[in-house]
Each structure stands twice: as C-alpha cells, then as structure tokens.
C-alpha cells in the first residue's frame, strides 16, 4: 500500500511523483504509436493525449500538444487565447510534415489532418493540500483515487461512453472548432492521493473493473516494472479484457506541498465534498442503469475561435453543466469513388447524407445521455444542498 518511494510528510519541491507505462497497439511495431504524455512535477502539470490512429501523423500531433501543455499551458477558458495557442500548435505540426513525397493514400488522408484527444491536470498548492484543475477534450481519462476509493472519474463516467467516437483536436483548421468543448473541473486533492491519467483503452478496462465491483490495484501497478506491466497488458488483450490499442498509463502520487508542516499534515483530510461513489453495479454488464450517477456537475466550456481575429461574440454560450460527448467525427466522409456520373455522385452524396443522419442520431443519443446526467447531477446537488442545510435554515 505504501510506496517505497513515497514517504508521508516528505518535503519536496515536487508536487507529485510519477510513473509512466506505455505499450503500442502492436508490440512488434513500437514506433507506430500515437499516444503521448508529459509530466512536470515541479509545476504540478501532467498530460496525456491519444492521437487518433486512423488519422495521419497523429502521434506527432499528440506529442506537440502534450509538450505545449507543459511548456506553454493553454487556457481554454479564454477562447481567443486558446485559439492562438491552438493555431501555434497547428503551425508546428504542418512544419514537421513533408507532404511532397507521399503516396496517393497518404496524400488523401493528409487533407484531413491529424486528430488527438487531450487531457491535462494542474496542481497548485493550497495550504496543506492542492487545488486541482483538469481539462479534457475527448476520452482520455482521469481517476482520482484515495486509498481504495474512487473519488472521481473524469470526463468519462462509464465504459459504454467509450464506444462513441471521441471529440478530438484537429491539426488542421477544418472549420469544425466551433464544435469543440472542453470538460473541466476545479477541485482539490490531498497528499497521498493517486491520480491516474490514461488513454481510452486502459480507461475502458478500469471502468469495467469498477462497474463489476472490483477495484483496480493501482498501487500494485505502481510497483511493477515496465516490462512486467507490458506483459500483463498483452495477456489482457489476448483475453479481450482490454482493447488492442495504444495504451498509456500515467500514475501520479500526490506529494505534500512544500510549506506543509509535518506534524499536522500527515493525515489527509477526510473525503472532500464532491465524492463519486465506488461503482458497484448490480450486474456485471455495463448498462446505463448500472452506472453510477455523476455527483459533480462537469462544467463545459465552449471553445474556440481558431484565429485571434475572431470576436468573442462568435463564441457560443456555454452549454450548461453537461458532460460533453463527441460531436464531430474525427474524419469527414470518404470521397465518392471515381468514375461516376453526376447522378451517381448525387447518390453517393445521399449515402453520405445517410451517414450524417447516423451521426445526428448519435449526437442526439449523446445529448439525451447528457441531459440525463445533468438531471441526475442536479437532483444530486439538490439533495446534497438541501438535506444537511435544512435544519440549519430552521435554526
């Protein structure tokens, strides 16, 4: 349980300790890997990104994004500033790609650019604890764990959500940025807490574990060698317990803030107000009914005019606290096959239109899910607020 390297009360300038585990979807082709992650323990920043492997040069894009999160932290709350940040990253990606010698299949794909999901957290000392701010676009996941308890799963709350195409940041400005939404929360964490950042394959495994009433043994993973961890993932893939996909696991163990007095601060505070109950469904199958209700509303920020020139007015109003689901498919519909007459092209267009209808259906499904979550979280909030406070009001 206690990490060999983690000493309660140990003073350090590091805000957390970290371990990084990564495995390519094909272990025989380790360079064909589109995940990326970065940590800066002194600044208290950690980030993971999952390049969409069906897009081209997505690994480069994911690396550019994570490096930039650490070197030049973005502020999605300021759409104009974020637009500039993203434009700079896009320029960096384009500079790294030599499009002159690509074969036909890559040329076609390059026009769509690369896509990547992105999640990052930032810890700021606040007395004996930390303020923790987290942002996410897409389905990289954070688990906030204290002892055996899962305090929060963010932004994905149940494994079924991972079936949908995630929202992702594109390396080209394809006029889709108005659909981008960041999920975010602002909360606290205590020394000794474990923060798990991971890409979607591992998140799917972990969520299914929680949904089955089991608790992933994060502490045990902490003590594994990288090779032993990889061997375990390969076994789990063969047993279909985890998807064949690039897999990244970033384990953080929160240290004591530098100013913490040793005597009084070795015991972490009890559970903060916002608690996600351990996920214990009645049946092992993950169905919406068995999934716990999100307790804390996830605040959603609209993003992003991509050019600094865009006026703030152009930014859509924030959607009320709903968990954001993917809206934009990472890739536009395929081109019609060649050699067709105009009428055939029209029919192709129709078939693409039907694909858009499917997408619309997906979106509406996701919106319904989101509204349900909103309702649940509002009810929960109402219960949380009203139940204990009523007696006080009466006084």
């Amino acid at each position: 349980m206690i990490l060999s390297s983690f000493k309660p009360g140990f003073q350090t300038t590091m805000r957390f300790e970290s371990r990084i585990f990564q495995l390519a979807k094909d272990p025989q082709a380790p360079t064909d890997f589109q995940d990326a992650c970065q940590v800066d323990a002194a600044q208290g920043v950690a980030t993971v990104a999952d390049g969409v492997s069906s897009s081209l040069f997505a690994g480069v894009w994911a690396s550019i994004l994570t490096a930039a999160v650490v070197a030049d932290p973005p502020d999605p709350a300021d759409p104009n500033a974020f637009g500039r940040w993203l434009a700079n990253r896009r320029a960096a990606w384009s500079q790294q790609i030599d499009a002159s010698n690509l074969p036909w299949f890559q040329k076609v794909k390059l026009k769509q650019g690369a896509f990547s999901t992105l999640l990052w957290i930032r810890l700021n000392p606040s007395g004996s604890e930390y303020g923790m701010q987290c942002w996410a676009v897409g389905d990289c996941c954070l688990f906030h764990v204290r002892g055996e308890r899962l305090l929060r799963s963010f932004p994905i709350l149940n494994s079924a959500e991972l079936d949908a195409n995630p929202l992702a940041l594109g390396s080209l400005d394809l006029n889709h940025d108005q659909y981008l939404r960041f999920a975010t929360f602002d909360d606290g964490c205590s020394p000794g807490d474990t923060l798990v950042l991971c890409t979607d394959a591992l998140a799917g495994w972990a969520l299914k574990e929680y949904e089955s009433g089991r608790t992933p043994a994060w502490d045990r993973l902490w003590s594994l060698s990288e090779d032993a961890w990889r061997a375990e993932i390969i076994e789990q893939r063969a047993a279909q317990q985890i998807r064949y996909d690039d897999t990244t696991l970033l384990l953080l163990r929160v240290c004591h803030p530098p100013t913490t007095s040793l005597a009084s601060k070795t015991v972490p505070k009890p559970v903060p107000a916002v608690v996600i109950e351990p996920i214990v469904p009645t049946s092992p199958a993950s169905s919406p009914k068995t999934v716990p209700k999100p307790v804390s509303a996830v605040v959603v920020e609209p993003i992003v005019p991509t050019s600094p020139a865009s006026s703030p007015k152009a930014v859509p109003k924030p959607v009320p606290a709903v968990v954001v689901e993917p809206i934009v498919p990472p890739l536009p519909p395929p081109n019609p096959p060649a050699g067709l007459s105009d009428s055939d092209v029209r029919r192709w267009a129709e078939s693409i239109a039907s694909a858009s209808e499917d997408l619309a259906e997906q979106v509406s499904d996701e919106m319904i899910k989101g509204m349900r979550k909103l309702k649940d979280s509002l009810f929960q909030k109402y219960r949380d607020n009203s139940a204990p406070k009523d007696p006080k009001k009466g006084e």
């Binding site: 094909d26 069906s54 074969p103 279909q240 998807r243 064949y244 060649a338 050699g339 029919r347 039907s354």
Partner: protein, 288 residues
C-alpha cells in the same frame, strides 16, 4: 471463460479477410436499376471505391497497416462454356487470389485523374476537383454464371486462409451476382463455405443481387416469405444469418433488422450495393 463469437478485433496480430466474388457473366452488360450505366461498371466502381477507402482507412504514418487480407475473384464462362474463375485484380497484383491491404494500396493497376464534385461551402455550388483515383479492377461481362465453381474455389481459398489465421475474425465473403447459377444448385456449395470457421465464428457469406429494373430492393430479409421469386429464395438460403455485432451495428445505422436477418440484398441498386458493402465492413470489430 468462453468468448462471444464474432468479437475478435481485427488488427495486425489477428488479420481480417474479405473475399469478393464478382459475377462477370454477359448479363452484367445490362444497366443497373435506376441508372444508365452497366451493372459491371457500377460494380467495379463500387469495388474500386471500397478498396480505396479501406486502403485509406488503414493508412498510418508509416504506410498502410497490414491488418486485412482482401481477395477479389471474378467468374464467368468462355465461349466453350468452360468456367473461368480468376483473380480480378489487375496490374502488378494480377493473378493473386489474396493480397494484404498494404499491397493493394501500394499497387493499383493505375491511377486515373478523374473529376469529382464537391459542394462549395459558401455558395453550395458543385465545384469540379481533379482527384487521383486508383483502379484495381476493370469491368468484364461475358459468358455464363458458373456460381458453383466459384463457391467451390472460394472454399479452397478460405480454408487455406483460415489454416493460417485460426483465431481471426472469420472471413467475410461478399458475393455479387445478377442471375441464377448455371452450373447446378449452389446451396450445398454455399453451405460448405459457411461451414468453415475460425475460433471466432463461421465464415459469413453475404449475397447481393443486382437488378436491371428499378424494383423494390429487399435488404437483409429474415424470412423467405415475401421474397419475389425462386432466385431470391436460393440466395436467401445461401446467405449467413447475421451475427449479433452486425445487428447492433445496423440498428446504430438506423437500419431495422429482424433477429434472424440474413446477409442478403435483392434487387439492389448502387445505393443498396454500397450500403451492403459498408455493412460488411463496419460491423467487424476494429475496422471502423
């Protein structure tokens, strides 16, 4: 713990396999329903488009990922009514029964520059855009329809592939024809093809019938009742019952399917054909 069937993800360790069986008989000269083009031209346009899309979909930073084998076979007869069963890929891959998607992407027979039309985002006008379009398969239409011979040959190809990929998602066979078998009852041959299996399930045989007339298409029927003629019933009996993942995918796509729906389309036009091809592709795990 026993695994669910048809759940093996398709990836480089567990490659997938698509085998297309194309009717190249003389009647494919006729126009396809709702169209002025010949059935054989429409068919190869759909197949070339499918190959192009699959190659693009498999494309990564280092080229095309080797996660899928594809065979395209044509069948017809010669003037002496002898069956001709041969690989339909042209160019550098001519003569190969099964190729990886990596080879297919790297070796089209030729790349044609064609004009495609895209709507202008601001004006809505269709603007012509020259596009490099790879071609692998050319249209052919001659002789008869030796369907039994084709299925017999397909059985050999698939048995060999399965012996090399025993744990993969089972091969998906897409057979596209416009008429009835002229070398016997194809049902036993189809049964034999469907009886082949990997550890993940039986071979899926999907049959698509192209129509010259703009008749009502039947997509993925669950029973013989209501099918218009004997040919439709034969194709129905030849076709696999679609497994769970396909039904789930179909319902996500907004297609209503009965529980025992079969992988069959009758009186298909171009739209149906493309829908049919996509159906086979999208439901396979990992190929999305």
């Amino acid at each position: 713990m026993s695994r669910a069937s048809y759940s093996q993800e398709i990836n480089r360790q567990n490659k997938g396999c698509f085998l297309f069986l194309l009717d190249q008989s003389y009647s494919m000269e006729e126009p396809l329903g709702n169209s002025a083009s010949r059935k054989c031209d429409q068919l190869v346009a759909a197949i070339n488009g499918w190959l192009q899309n699959m190659a693009i979909r498999a494309t990564g930073d280092q080229g095309i990922r080797d996660w899928l084998d594809v065979g395209v076979m044509g069948y017809r007869t010669d003037p002496a009514a002898q069956p001709i069963i041969e690989p339909a890929l042209q160019g550098p891959l001519a003569g190969k029964t099964i190729c990886s998607i990596t080879e297919i992407g790297a070796h089209p027979a030729r790349i044609e520059t064609r004009t495609q039309y895209f709507p202008d985002e601001e004006t809505g006008q269709m603007i012509p855009v020259p596009c490099e379009t790879p071609v692998w398969v050319d249209a052919k239409a001659e002789g008869g329809t030796p369907m039994c011979h084709m299925l017999y040959f397909a059985h050999q190809i698939l048995a060999d592939w399965i012996s090399r990929h025993p744990y993969s998602f089972p091969p998906i066979v897409v057979h596209i024809t416009d008429g009835e078998s002229q070398d016997g009852d194809p049902i036993p041959y189809a049964d034999a093809v469907r009886s082949l299996a990997t550890a993940d399930g039986n071979v899926l045989l999907l049959n698509c019938h192209l129509s010259m007339t703009a008749a009502q298409p039947f997509m993925f029927p669950a029973g013989e009742e209501g099918l218009p003629d004997e040919l439709a019933k034969v194709l129905f009996r030849m076709s696999s019952v679609l497994p769970g993942p396909f039904l789930r995918h179909a319902s996500q796509e907004g297609l209503r399917m009965q529980p025992n729906a079969r992988g069959m389309a009758f009186n298909a036009d171009m739209v149906c054909l493309i829908q049919f091809l996509n159906m086979g592709t999208k439901a396979a795990p990992g190929l999305r």
